[in-house]
């Protein structure tokens, strides 16, 4: 079978361009994904971490949320998922996702992208909330009170 060199040249050329774009894309945009305590440790080790953006996940501390009445500014506190003693205050200047709920009725994990400031505040540019129970990981059993109702004869 005659090998078509141009075919392979094209293949290699495109592959090279795409690989280059992916490589530079990753190195330009990649950020570390840390917990608050990991972030603090890293900043202690190398303070320049502060310059670079970072993604942080933490558990929302119930009742910690306040918002300014005069500008779009949300402030809340997250704690380290593994170590509740490590806390971090977060500032966010965009609308919060709908599932952001600090009532404490359920555990809310917050994933933030942003920058840790020298004054100890985390300035988030992006906030996502993860609360599995909103989606599928719902408890298998409903509240016990319901169990005794309407069982007899209604099933089947």
């Amino acid at each position: 079978m005659h090998r078509d060199r141009r075919f392979f040249a094209g293949l290699v050329g495109v592959a090279a361009v795409v690989s280059y774009l992916i490589y530079t894309g990753i190195s330009d945009t990649m950020v570390y994904y840390l917990t608050p305590s990991e972030l603090l440790t890293r900043i202690e080790e190398s303070p320049e971490t502060m310059e670079r953006g970072v993604k942080v996940n933490g558990m929302l501390v119930p009742g910690s949320y306040v918002h300014s009445t005069h500008e779009l500014l949300h402030t809340f506190v997250v704690e380290d998922p593994n170590d509740a003693s490590v806390r971090m205050t977060v500032e966010f200047r965009h609308p919060l996702p709908d599932t952001f709920d600090d009532s404490g009725e359920m555990e809310v994990e917050v994933v933030m992208q942003g920058r840790y400031r020298a004054d100890g505040l985390f300035e988030a540019t992006e906030v996502l909330t993860k609360c599995g129970s909103r989606y599928e990981a719902m408890p298998e059993m409903p509240p016990q009170a319901d169990v005794n109702e309407g069982v007899g004869g209604m099933i089947g």
Partner: protein, 705 residues
């Protein structure tokens, strides 16, 4: 009773699918018509049984039968019947059954349409389809049982996530499943062709419409998903490069590549292995997407719960299917030899190949970006994140090359483009490109990528319009028809080709819509009633929004807080806009949800988000200070073009799909035929009945027999 019947139907379907699968392959191997027929009837029977199962689930939802785990978790008594019905695909368990239902329906349709026309390929294809049906039936029975009971009857269900209670979200998933499942049919025929050893373009002829159908549904599904995100997620964007979004894009990208490279095989007998590879890859991508979406392995805003069993099952399915296909392809390599070779880089073949490579490049980049964090964590233990900046940085330049190819591919000559061909086809569009770029630059557009998108868009549109114009003119002259009739006949004569061009127009419009995001404007402000906020759009209009006040009311199942604005555009009243936050009480626990206010014009959207408000204190109070709230006001230029582009794409695909298009009619009426080679790629191949072989005879008369 009916749900129980539904579950029973699934149990019966399992042995039938296995039985049918074995019979189909044996029947094909031994050329036993009775076995083949029995297998075909199994496929029909499974479809009926899946319908019964689906009716069972819908009945359980409609009848509030909360003793079923699935109904309990995805419905509640006061949920609108429309959303109760959509419970069939609202969650993992139902959606996998729904998947099976779609697959069985498509399988039956494929059998019905091909059993007499393609006796040779049908038995094996049916066997492959039945194997996948058995797979999905097993999942619904043993892994994610939709009919699992709680053992007691709760008083009410937990309600459907209010974010999913949206029109677009109701039609987005089924459209996606239609696209995913229908692609199993081309895959089955490809596998069948490999097993039988019939590797001419027969399997492609059989499946061309199927591929286009899947592509049509995938396209719509992706657009519906964007529309949903834009309306419902309330942050002003429509695409976030979230793993779940990426998952839906992957099969689409490969299917798009396949739709193009198939034309090369049809008209030039080249790229046979490549096409085989693409059909397998597209199919694998649908499974990979399912794996990504349902495993929960990759962090995503809206993924299903983590389910490692499902993850392993789909990963296993992918490996087994891929390995099986690979072995078949290697076994049949001698039969997949190219009939011709590439002659020049300046040829339509190269342009199409380039298109393919680029689309696969995007696919790879998207997979890489999506999987990279998982791989890094697995290999080095350090967690990193790759977000939208990565995907934009990589995909925008590739997308621009794709746009360029979209202008070159359709009109460059087959085999080897002569300087005359290049001049003839690209001189004018090239001039349009340069003028568009110059005009935009003069108008103050300094964003390189956006400027290139618009200028290249103008280039592609010019190429297409010229094609239509030349084709219509030639036909009008030769057939002596009035221009409009000539135009309609032209499109009707070769729907695949002209439909494809219309799709390209839609894609260009959509790309321009994406580029509009470079010029987004936004203001954020805290306001009390009576205060105004102004925002200037990039088109120079000034919107002034005056906050009229807030009203909070308790309606059944939710607390609604609505902010009202009157809107002035360039000083003229144009009406009002509302934006609201709702607290849906029907779910447990209550869930807040925003309904943004959107006011669309032809070229831009005014988008208002109610960001913060102390709505709880407001009930029954008229104090304006209490009505203080913060808003984010956005002007999203060209976003409407994304939806218009989507409509145009759908229209083009439908033209290509319309019955009768592309049915090989061998009779070429001599009287109306054009002179071969009269005008290369100038739309003169209206006679060509092969939908996906644009002017193969006219522009390459010496090589096509």
């Amino acid at each position: 009773m009916i749900p129980a019947l539904g579950e029973f139907a699934l149990w019966i379907a399992l042995p039938i699918s296995i039985w049918g699968c074995v019979l189909a392959f044996l029947g094909g191997r031994w050329s036993r018509g009775d076995l083949v027929l029995s297998a075909e009837r199994s496929t029909y029977a499974i479809t009926v049984l899946f319908v019964i199962a689906a009716v069972g689930i819908v009945t359980a939802f409609m009848g509030d039968q909360f003793q079923y785990w699935y109904v309990y978790n995805y419905s509640s008594i006061n949920l609108h019947p429309f959303f109760k019905f959509s419970g069939l695909w609202a969650g993992q368990r139902g959606s996998l059954l729904f998947w099976g239902l779609n697959l069985s329906a498509f399988s039956s349709l494929a059998v019905l349409l091909n059993r007499s026309r393609n006796r040779e390929l049908m038995p094996y294809a049916n066997g492959v389809l039945l194997a996948f049906l058995a797979f999905f039936i097993s999942i619904s029975l043993f892994v994610t049982p939709p009919f699992e009971q709680l053992g007691f009857l709760p008083a009410d269900g937990r309600g459907l996530n209010p974010q999913l209670q949206n029109y677009w979200m109701t039609i987005h998933p089924p459209t996606m499943y239609l696209g995913f499942t229908s692609f199993t049919v081309p895959f089955a025929f490809a596998m069948s062709a490999l097993m039988v050893g019939r590797l001419d373009s027969r399997w492609i002829d059989v499946t061309r419409k199927w591929i286009l159908t899947s592509w049509f549904f995938l396209t719509l599904a992706v657009i519906f998903g964007m529309r949903w995100a834009y309306e419902e997620l309330g942050w002003g964007g429509y695409w976030f490069w979230d793993p779940v979004e990426n998952a839906s894009l992957l099969p689409w990208l490969v299917a798009t590549a396949f739709l193009h490279s198939v034309m090369i095989q049809k008209s030039r007998g080249m790229l046979k292995v490549w096409n085989m590879g693409l059909v397998v890859l597209t199919f694998l991508m649908t499974i990979f997407a399912t794996f990504l979406t349902r495993s929960g392995l990759i962090e995503s805003v809206h993924s299903f719960a983590q389910n490692l069993t499902i993850a392993w099952i789909f990963l296993g399915c992918m490996v087994v299917t891929g390995g099986f296909a690979l072995i078949l392809i290697i076994w049949r390599l001698p039969l997949l030899r190219s009939e011709r070779h590439f002659e020049s880089l300046l040829s339509r073949e190269s342009a199409f190949l380039m298109n393919n490579l680029i689309l696969l490049g995007v696919t790879f980049a998207v997979i890489w970006g999506t999987m990279f964090p998982l791989l890094t964590e697995g290999l080095t233990g350090s967690k990193i994140a790759v977000g939208p900046p990565f995907f934009n940085q990589v995909n925008i330049p590739i997308g621009l090359i794709l746009l360029l190819m979209m202008g070159i591919g359709p009109v460059i000559a087959w085999r080897k483009a002569s300087p005359r061909n290049l001049r003839r086809n690209f001189l004018f569009p090239g001039a349009v490109f340069l003028s568009a770029a110059a005009i935009l630059f003069a108008a103050g557009v300094r964003h390189t990528y956006a400027l290139l998108t618009f200028a290249l868009g103008a280039f592609v549109l010019t190429v297409i319009v010229v094609e239509f114009w030349k084709g219509t003119r030639a036909r009008a002259r030769i057939e002596e028809e009035p221009p409009l009739t000539a135009f309609l006949h032209l499109v009707r004569r070769n729907r695949g080709r002209w439909g494809g061009y219309i799709v390209h127009v839609g894609v260009v419009i959509m790309f321009m819509g994406f580029a509009g995001s470079a010029f987004d404007r936004e203001v954020r402000q805290s306001m009390v009633p009576g205060e105004s906020v102004s925002i200037e759009s990039p088109f120079g209009h000034e919107y002034t929004l005056t906050y009229q006040g807030l009203s909070t009311s308790l309606v059944p199942s939710m607390r609604q807080t609505i902010a009202l604005f009157s809107v002035q555009k360039d000083g003229v009243d144009i009406g009002s806009i509302t934006t609201q936050r709702q607290l849906v009480l029907a779910t447990t626990p209550p869930q807040p949800i925003s309904e943004v206010g959107i006011r669309s014009t032809l070229v831009e959207d005014l988008y208002v988000i109610l960001a913060t408000v102390d709505d709880a204190v407001l009930l029954g109070s008229n104090d304006p200070q209490l009505q203080r709230a913060t808003f984010q006001v956005l002007v999203n230029p060209l976003v409407p073009w994304i939806w218009y582009g989507g409509l145009i794409i759908a229209t083009g695909a439908l033209i290509g799909l319309w019955p009768g298009a592309g049915v090989p009619t061998r009779s070429r009426r001599m009287g109306s035929g054009f002179r071969a080679g009269a005008a290369v790629g100038a739309g003169t191949s209206g006679r060509e009945s092969e939908a996906s072989t644009p002017d193969s005879t006219t522009s390459a008369p010496t090589t096509v027999g």
